[in-house]
Symmetry: C2
Subunit: 482 residues, 2 copies
């Protein structure tokens, strides 16, 4: 699939083949392209803008909670990965290694970071001496590398963009609070800005981050019923502190290991936006992160054109002056009909049409991308009406996604149940679990579903393990996942 976008003529219907729909949409909307390097994609401007919106929303929240950005080297000595036993097992097979520069061999091979706990642990050991140096609250925006076997644009790529927060604390309690604070920031951002409802919960031990004591996640449901882990937050205990010697002299004059956390969200979020809100007409972008929130389209024959375009330009300026991301498309060479489908396909939340009759009546016609609903808005006070309408669209997109998730959330008492529900209906399935790895493994082997997380707030407590029938220690959301 190395051809230009010109070859993507039509969007494949979701009901026909969801994966083909996804690829056709991201190609037609010009969000990405394949690169010559296996599994690496090019984030084209329309795709990258969605990431810039995610960066802005997250970065603001991180800074409001006292975090600061820094930047650590991409290249990490291979030996660093040996310092934390589980970490190396998790990441070693996927590490790209720099072994030469020009034509000279390096003395020690250097890994491209898959995540930065090791190099950051090494630096924190230098920076942290006393309880006065704590907490350390640092975030990094960076590219990372994981040589995945199967790749999918945005959702799983060899190189991807993300942020990774790394904090160090004097006590377990404080580090655990931080872990939960950041998980809540992810939930708030994804629900409020991306209009995607998520389930907050704890990962099972087998799904933990390699090297974590506890991993927490937010899980979102795509329109094919599959799950995407949209953000994770880890309490790392003193594991990395021990591996890298991050110790501090506490108030009580004792030398202690710090407790660390890490948390990350990545360009997968772009995939989530597309798979949660998109439909057979293309993308549908939530107003808060849509690069273009309002597209203004002047309509009418040549003789009234100047007047219509003139008035449209005034309205455009008023919208932009109010901080709205509005654009006008007054190109002659495309018909209004073509433009309507084009901006629907690109997911612009609100379209405003202005023709000669609207001009005479002092209105514009507003058409919502999410519902298709059409209404005439008075030109007087247009800015406020548009702002309100965008808020309504944002809220209603969230509600729609939530209703979809509710409609595709089920319960299963047994493994057979689970298999049947997944085959017949798909989605998230709540089930009891005894806590035994073997039972979790059987679920995966027989249904391809994994434990997404143990929700903090399950709709119901399940009493028996779906596999062995023993008493359930946890109530778990199972689902097939990206």
């Amino acid at each position: 699939m190395a051809e230009g976008q010109a070859l993507v003529k039509e969007i494949v219907p979701q009901s026909e083949d969801f994966s083909a729909w996804y690829v056709s949409v991201i190609r037609k909307a010009d969000l990405m392209d394949y690169s010559p390097v296996r599994g690496c994609i090019v984030f084209k401007p329309d795709g990258y803008e969605l990431w810039e919106a995610c960066q802005a929303g997250l970065d603001r929240r991180f800074k409001e909670t006292g975090h600061r950005n820094a930047y650590f080297p991409t290249l990490i000595p291979e030996s660093f990965f040996q310092r934390e036993k589980e970490h190396v097992e998790g990441f070693a097979p996927e590490l790209p290694l720099v072994t030469e520069v020009g034509s000279e061999k390096l003395e020690e091979r250097l890994a491209l970071r898959p995540t930065s706990e090791t190099i950051i642990g090494h630096m924190y050991a230098k920076w942290i001496q006393s309880y006065r140096d704590l907490p350390v609250l640092i975030n990094q925006w960076a590219n990372v590398f994981r040589w995945e076997k199967r790749t999918l644009p945005f959702l799983r790529t060899t190189e991807f963009l993300w942020q990774e927060g790394h904090t160090a604390h004097a006590t377990e309690e404080e580090a655990r609070e931080e872990t939960m604070r950041m998980l809540e920031i992810y939930r708030d951002f994804v629900e409020a800005d991306l209009a995607i409802p998520v389930v907050k919960g704890q990962k099972t031990p087998s799904e933990r981050f390699a090297g974590a004591v506890d991993t927490y996640s937010i899980e979102a449901m795509m329109k094919d019923g599959k799950a995407v882990q949209a953000g994770t937050s880890h309490y790392l205990g003193t594991k990395f502190a021990e591996g890298f010697g991050i110790q501090f002299l506490d108030r009580d004059n004792q030398l202690k290991y710090v407790h660390t956390t890490s948390w990350g969200a990545s360009t997968r979020l772009i995939g989530c936006i597309i798979m949660v809100h998109g439909d057979d007409r293309g993308l549908a972008l939530p107003p808060r992160v849509a690069p273009t929130q309002v597209i203004l389209i002047p309509i009418g024959p040549a003789k009234v054109r100047e007047e219509v375009v003139g008035r449209s330009r005034e309205l455009l300026q008023a919208l932009r002056a109010a901080g709205l991301r509005a654009r006008m498309d007054d190109r002659d060479e495309f018909s209004p009909g073509w433009k309507f489908s084009e901006y629907e396909m690109r997911g612009v939340p609100l379209r405003l049409e202005l023709g000669p009759r609207d001009l005479a009546q002092g209105v514009v016609v507003a058409v919502r991308r999410d519902t298709g609903e059409k209404q005439a808005l008075p030109q007087d006070g247009l800015v406020e009406r548009v702002q309100t309408l965008l808020d309504e669209i944002q809220a209603s997109m969230f509600q729609k996604a939530l209703a979809f998730r509710e409609a595709h959330s089920h319960r299963a008492a047994t493994l057979a149940d689970l298999g049947r529900v997944l085959e017949e209906k798909g989605g998230f399935v709540l089930a009891g679990w005894c806590g035994d790895d073997a039972c979790e493994r059987r679920v995966k082997e027989e249904t391809k579903a994994t434990a997404r997380n143990i929700p903090f707030d399950p709709p119901e407590r399940m009493e028996r393990c779906l596999v062995c029938g023993r008493e359930a220690r946890h109530t778990v959301w199972f689902a097939r996942a990206y």
Copy 2:
């Protein structure tokens, strides 16, 4: 120098040893740390914030001129570098190569990008078919890798952060206009926001970017008289278009190669800010990019403390509400004197002190970092006064740097002259040049100075080549450079 900052007790005076001053300042101000990988530094929060300010100032200007951000893969097939002859000669010796993943050898070695003309050229060849696809105006914020022999924090590191713009145009004229537009954006940003005067001009052929037809630069003078290339803009002609087959069908139905440009500015700018404005007390940051513009320090004995801190907090809120980056330091454990030197060392442009007497008189004492000037400002209307004062500081820092550059700009008629001026006074030296590579090479061999650029607007036209005495084709700024 792998020790923590606690070991950097004092700032070495500039007059004693400029390099030692530089390293002591960036360590004491906690801007960076050395990493375990040769030539790679850690950008600590106080250093990274300066980069964030540069990013904001440049990104806004790029977008205002119609550019959009995208992201291309870091890993580039080694063979791509062979496609442009000069490009491979310039970059091949410094390329870090990924040859293995986990324990498996890759079929083709992958280079870490030193710059992205090649991979972007490959993609543009897919995207550009017709004149309708032009111009393509894309910028990328990214990390790049060049295995330099000698490294210096911020100014020359193995991995650094930068932006690289890459544009494609139908005609040479349009591409050359773009090249100049971006050079002017760099000048405007560096002069207006960083308060650093620069010389705009064209690079000599030997100093051109590997693969460019023409390279232009802005050059800034550090306080030791040495030059730093603060931004470059290249007209690449059709060289990369030919190497990667970027062709378009023009309006006249002819298949033509596009004309491309590229332009970049990097984390070297952080080094420039430090070396242009810093002094023996530490950093001095221009208000427009200072992470903290105003530091408010309440002063006074315990019994009046509450009242003083209370009023300070009100003033702080007023300053912040007006969008000023203001902070208060009301910590008990540090004396006012300690705080004064601390924030001077960190380069905060303006300090506001509030004691009981000031409280009674309704004033605050304002102290400028750049001049040390002290003045009482009425608390009423403080926000406006502070805004004006910050503008004055910004303007006066630029004037001071300009005066310094003027005072350290000289002329030389002969090579002997040049050597003497550089030894005795340092700085930039204007001289005539015949255009011959051999003469330029001799300047470098004998004086260690290089041709910085051929200024568009030299203060004087020099008539004879400083080396061979033949008629000068160009008037050139020579200087030793970082």
